[in-house]
Symmetry: C2
């Protein structure tokens, strides 16, 4: 039996990494050979999570070949996926994002639910298949939920995330408040990172009507410190745009305490960002109260500006 | 609370119609207001099914307006869906086809499984939600399964279709063999239909790399009688291509007894059909042994010819 490769999106975050690990484990428990992979180096938050629960980092995967069998978790859009994807056979997709730029020739198992985190769905699949969730798996699943839902405070968080999260919390034997803050702090040690590294913590490329838009997000309990480096970040964003031919780079710096984000826009199509976020022409950033979700708030605002 | 409109694909077949009816009923049982619709007149097979189980025909829906909330069953591709779809909010998709030409701005509940019939998934959703399946609903769900899987003989049929089908058979109190044959015969009364009507029994439009391909399918226990009208069908297919600017029209006439299909190709891009089905240049049809599924056999063959 051929081994199925399971992976999340490029620039892996905690959900992409942990959902791949947990889903591969579930498949193996069900007698289907599967391995978890990441498409790039994992970030500090994810490193903290895997270390905390003593779970191995998945193997790096850079490309897939002709006819390989894969399962995508936490993404479906081609731009966010692996190189060579068009050549492989996608058996399943487990996701919680909008559906876009996704195409298959054959029917497949495609499960996307409007919940806060892919790991919420993976936890449900353990239960549907009556497979026990062990302590380490419960821990990484819960970590991803806390990360994606900003400890249930993001508008993408649902009752189901909370319900599943609370069940996992008991198995993992942690307190989600204390642990969640520790995890977010581990992920926002910006002082030891270069601007380039900061921009790569969590960034995705979206293609809207042929326009390539890069949207990065940083999350911190308090963004005060990183705000002091705004000018340097802008210079680096300009460089990244140039090198990668992005039309627009949007950096969303989310402040958990303030429940909002500083949104910075850079690029030759900066005007799209101005229109999307009502930023005046002569400015390049704005603090947006209540905006904390790339998926449910930032992306739709950009999308609407195309209408 | 706004009522959600639920509908299947254009040129409704038994699965599109019955999955919409059954899923709307499930939603209502769960306290969510929903109505079932069809996007065109139902065919003779579906008429037989609804009459047999004394279920009302869903209301015709020709267009959806700005911001209306909808659920798509048994399809996801835009070409096969309702007019104005880009303006409405798609809350859910319940399907068993390939995913293609589908796009949303927001996350949604998208559930597609590689089973033989959408009604198999809908039956599972009744069970997952612990809602009793009444005799009439069991009857129409089973009818759709028997229709889509050609009484479990098609390569698209899975163990799950059979398992769910057998459970429904008990509730509906019918014998699937006897009933299935009766249903298929009711749907293949071609002698009382014009060529135009025959071509519209079950036809879908696919767009592959900008090329519009119409694929129609007829199913009969024995296609001997309808084969006598092949020349007239070809003339009508040419007319339909001209009127609708289809590049290619593929008619799949499936013979259940012979377990194969006569495939007819017409249109200015007939060469794509020749390549797909290895039909010589000077011919316009071929009997293909073992080919009975549009989705799993015919569409992939056409798709491969583009590679």
């Amino acid at each position: 039996m051929e081994t199925i490769k399971i992976f999340g999106h490029k620039v892996p975050d905690t959900d992409s990494t942990c959902s791949a690990i947990a889903y591969a484990k579930l498949k193996n428990e069900l007698g289907i050979k599967a391995t978890a992979h990441v498409l790039g180096e994992i970030n500090n938050e994810t490193k903290f999570v895997l270390k905390h629960f003593n779970v191995e980092t998945p193997e790096l995967l850079e490309e897939v070949g002709e006819g390989e069998k894969v399962i995508l978790v936490d993404h479906n859009e081609a731009k966010q996926s692996i190189e060579g994807r068009e050549k492989c056979e996608i058996l399943e997709v487990i996701d919680h994002h909008r559906v876009s730029d996704f195409h298959t020739t054959l029917p497949l198992y495609f499960r996307s639910e409007p919940v806060g985190c892919t790991c919420t769905i993976v936890a449900k699949m353990y239960m549907e298949n009556k497979v026990e969730i062990k302590k380490d798996i419960a821990g990484i699943l819960l970590s991803a939920i806390l990360s994606d839902t900003l400890m249930y405070k993001s508008p993408i968080s649902t009752e189901e995330d909370k319900k599943i999260g609370s069940m996992l919390e008991k198995i993992a034997e942690i307190n989600h408040e204390t642990y969640g803050r520790e995890m977010i702090e581990a992920g926002s040690k910006f002082n030891v990172m270069t601007e380039k590294e900061i921009l790569e913590i969590d960034a995705k490329t979206f293609e809207i009507e042929g326009i390539e838009i890069r949207i990065g997000q940083l999350i911190a309990l308090d963004i005060g410190k990183i705000m002091e480096r705004k000018d340097k970040l802008i210079i680096e964003m300009e460089k990244v745009c140039e090198e990668n031919k992005y039309n627009l780079f949007v950096l969303v710096m989310t402040d958990i305490m303030k429940n909002g984000s500083e949104v910075i826009i850079v690029g030759k199509d900066k005007s799209i960002g101005e229109k999307s976020f009502s930023i005046p022409k002569n400015e390049n950033s704005k603090f947006m109260d209540g905006v904390v979700s790339r998926k449910k708030q930032v992306v739709p605002l950009i999308y609407d500006s195309f209408k």
